[in-house]
Amino acid sequence: MTLAPPPSSRVQLTDDGKLRHFLSVEHLSRSLLEDMLDTAASFVDVGGRAIKKVPLLRGKTVVNLFFESSTRTRSTFELAAKRLSADVLNLDISKSATSKGETLLDTLRNLEAMAADMFVVRHQDSGAPFFIANEVTPGVAVINAGDGRHAHPTQAMLDMYTIRHYKGGFDGLRVAIVGDVLHSRVARSQIHALNILGAEEVRLIGPRTLLPVAAESLGVTVFNDMAQGLRDVDVVIMLRLQKERMDSAFLPSEAEFFRLYGLNNEKLRHAKPDAIVMHPGPINRGVEIASEVADGPRSVILNQVTFGIAVRMAVMSMAISGQESSQNPEQGEDHGR
């Protein structure tokens, strides 16, 4: 007897294991994540061409459904969709619908009437993309562009792409994630991705106020001290520290946080000499990272952005093709003949 698949993978995979929504990295297989990275690699070159488009999503409509504003993330999704030749509709819901008392379900039903093929969703509530994926018309793909503190799977996958690009793979790698893990959807997705892809060790470094309860249960080692936590790591991922953390007693001051956990060249010495430094952006100079590191030779922060478009192209094309194969199962049979 096999165990029932966990709810998250049941929703996001087709019966034959293809991606049809991308909601969370958790419970996905190593081969699927590697497939995603390989597909992204084939798209990296597209950005360098004179004509930066491939026709994989021609005739498809992608709706960027952002309940939380984020110009950067939305722009990369928009660019990725356009490079796949899709039509893109950007909707900033945060101000319009919800203030008029319209429920998320009402909003969704209205947009479905526009015959969208894919929703790229950012929402302040953890689990919102799961809710949408469960309610949406069959055949429409849902991509999570960040939900509450839960997940930001495309960001995590572009980080994995970056790591693989610079380190060649994940075997034996030690990765430290530093700062406000408690509020970070990026960190949660990164932890799952690193563990699935076979990293040797994932470390979290931060004060106890910024680490989630039972953090070890995520499959990480926890450190409160930077020198110890950074020792011999191959990759340092710095997280953004929101200014409002100072108001709610998570921290006394930015200055003390920077002194203890801000990454400067001196602290970076504890990592391996060839360690790379990453950050999901936007960075707070002098809060979680010193300019000497952010602009220094070990920083790959800007490359992350470039790879981000290719990874999102990969995710979008995989989800659309997964949806098509589950909508037209006879095609799969033809293929097998």
Binding site: L105, G127, E135, R185, R188, L218
Partner: protein, 426 residues
């Protein structure tokens, strides 16, 4: 509804946890009173109920129901929900003060009138401790008690500070009114929607730590000791609270406690996949908490098990988990889930039944929950071994339950509430 019935219930297995009775016997109800329990009773002219193979137990007493008044935003109304109670074998229920709120005699009268007209169950209103449950200005507790309230409480709404609470308790103690506490420190719980444990950590759900409950419980117990008020603690959810309750009881404080039935069956793992039907406050906690709560019910540290009935319309659950309205519709499932706990070997039969009959009656300070000759008859006849899929028998207007489509034991055949037949299955 039938008038005060003359009923002869024959050859059922009569289980009365309060007296320890568990035997096959006949049971005679005359003029609404339970007259006799014994072998081969004879009652010419009485309506005969053949109960061979069935159980006859006291009517259930539910110490925590959130009523559906028009302003409550909950599904259904007093009639629909008390009917669901009757069909679930419940004869007495304590209505929490958060609809209305219950801070004026007009609201008390409205509740009693609606419940009286419906006639399905005895509804015992709990009065607000403070006006509008604002936690600042004391409500007219003595007046509300005279109007029929059995206790006072805040239904989870916070009290401004320890001074207001201390004076509220002193005032309640003046009139020997029991106070119902739902311990949860508002600041520690702020913004949370799930137990602050490994599941919430993974799902990225803002947590409510167990200490939010135990911190406030510890403070409340000290104030109970200082004021001498009778206290009932509702919806205990974490194992850290149990030593505090045990110590208070060992010191002889007038303290009782209950737990919601769903905390005895589910833990935080039920939230996987963001199932909003498992969004409850206090949150479902860890597996070790669930085990400890069951042990505390078994050893009597926790006196009663209640439904914490919170019926809501489907729209309130169709949203991302943190945005959904917390609560489970519990009247339809209280008895079946208690029987399931017995079936699973999690609780002994007599204790499990006591926890939904005599024990909650004692917590509320009311005469109910037992089969005592001479008293108004409130009882339930059920086929304990008959399991049913609940969705096809569901009566509450709120279908917000993780068990809506489950198959559970216990089919209620007949409920008698204070001498009147309040439910008869076809």
């Amino acid at each position: 509804m039938a008038a005060k019935a003359h009923l002869l219930i024959r050859k059922g297995r009569v289980i009365d946890p309060a007296s320890g009775r568990d035997e096959v016997a006949d049971l005679l109800v005359e003029d609404g009173r339970l007259v006799r329990i014994g072998a081969s009773l004879d009652a010419p002219g009485a309506e005969i109920v053949e109960a061979e193979g069935l159980w006859v137990i006291p009517g259930l007493v539910d110490a925590c129901v959130h009523l559906s008044l028009p302003d409550s935003g909950r599904a259904g109304d007093v009639t629909s929900e008390t009917r669901a109670a009757a069909a679930g074998g419940i004869t007495h229920l304590a209505a929490q003060p958060d609809c209305g709120p219950v801070d004026s005699t007009a609201v008390v009268r409205l509740i009693r009138e609606q419940a009286g007209q419906a006639g399905f169950a005895r509804v015992l209103p709990v009065a607000a401790l403070t006006q509008h449950l604002d936690g600042v200005q004391l409500a007219e507790m003595a007046t509300l008690a005279r109007a029929g309230c059995i206790a006072v409480g805040q239904a989870g709404a916070p009290v401004a500070d320890a001074l207001v609470l201390k004076r509220g308790l002193e005032y309640a103690a003046t009139f020997d009114l029991p106070v119902m506490f739902r311990p949860q420190d508002a600041a520690l719980a702020a913004g949370g929607c799930a137990h602050d444990g490994p599941v919430a950590t993974r799902l990225g759900l803002p947590g409510i730590p167990a200490v939010a409950e135990s911190v406030e419980l510890a403070r409340d117990l000290l104030l109970v000791e200082a004021t001498g008020v009778r206290a009932h603690f509702q919806q205990i959810s974490s194992r850290e609270s149990l030593p505090l309750l045990r110590a208070a009881k060992a010191r002889g404080l007038p303290v009782t406690a209950d737990v919601s039935i769903h905390h005895l069956l589910l833990d935080e793992s039920a939230l996987e996949g963001f199932d909003s039907h498992c969004h409850v406050i206090p949150p479902l906690r860890g597996a070790a908490d669930r085990e400890a709560l069951l042990a505390a019910v078994a050893d009597g540290t926790i006196d009663a098990v209640c439904s914490q009935h919170q019926p809501s319309g489907s729209f309130s659950k169709t949203a991302p988990f943190p945005a959904t309205r917390p609560g489970i519709s519990g009247l339809d499932t209280l008895l079946p889930l208690v029987l399931k706990l017995v079936e699973d070997g999690a609780l002994p039969l007599h204790r499990a039944l006591e926890a939904v009959t005599a024990a909650p009656a004692r917590c509320l300070g009311i005469q109910a929950g037992h089969l005592e000759p001479g008293r108004p008859a409130s009882l339930c006849v059920l086929a304990a071994g008959e399991s049913r899929t609940l969705s096809s028998h569901w009566l509450s207007a709120g279908r917000n339950s993780p068990w809506l489509h489950s198959r559970l034991p216990g089919a209620v055949k007949l409920t008698v509430c204070q001498g009147k037949v309040s439910w008869l299955s076809d």
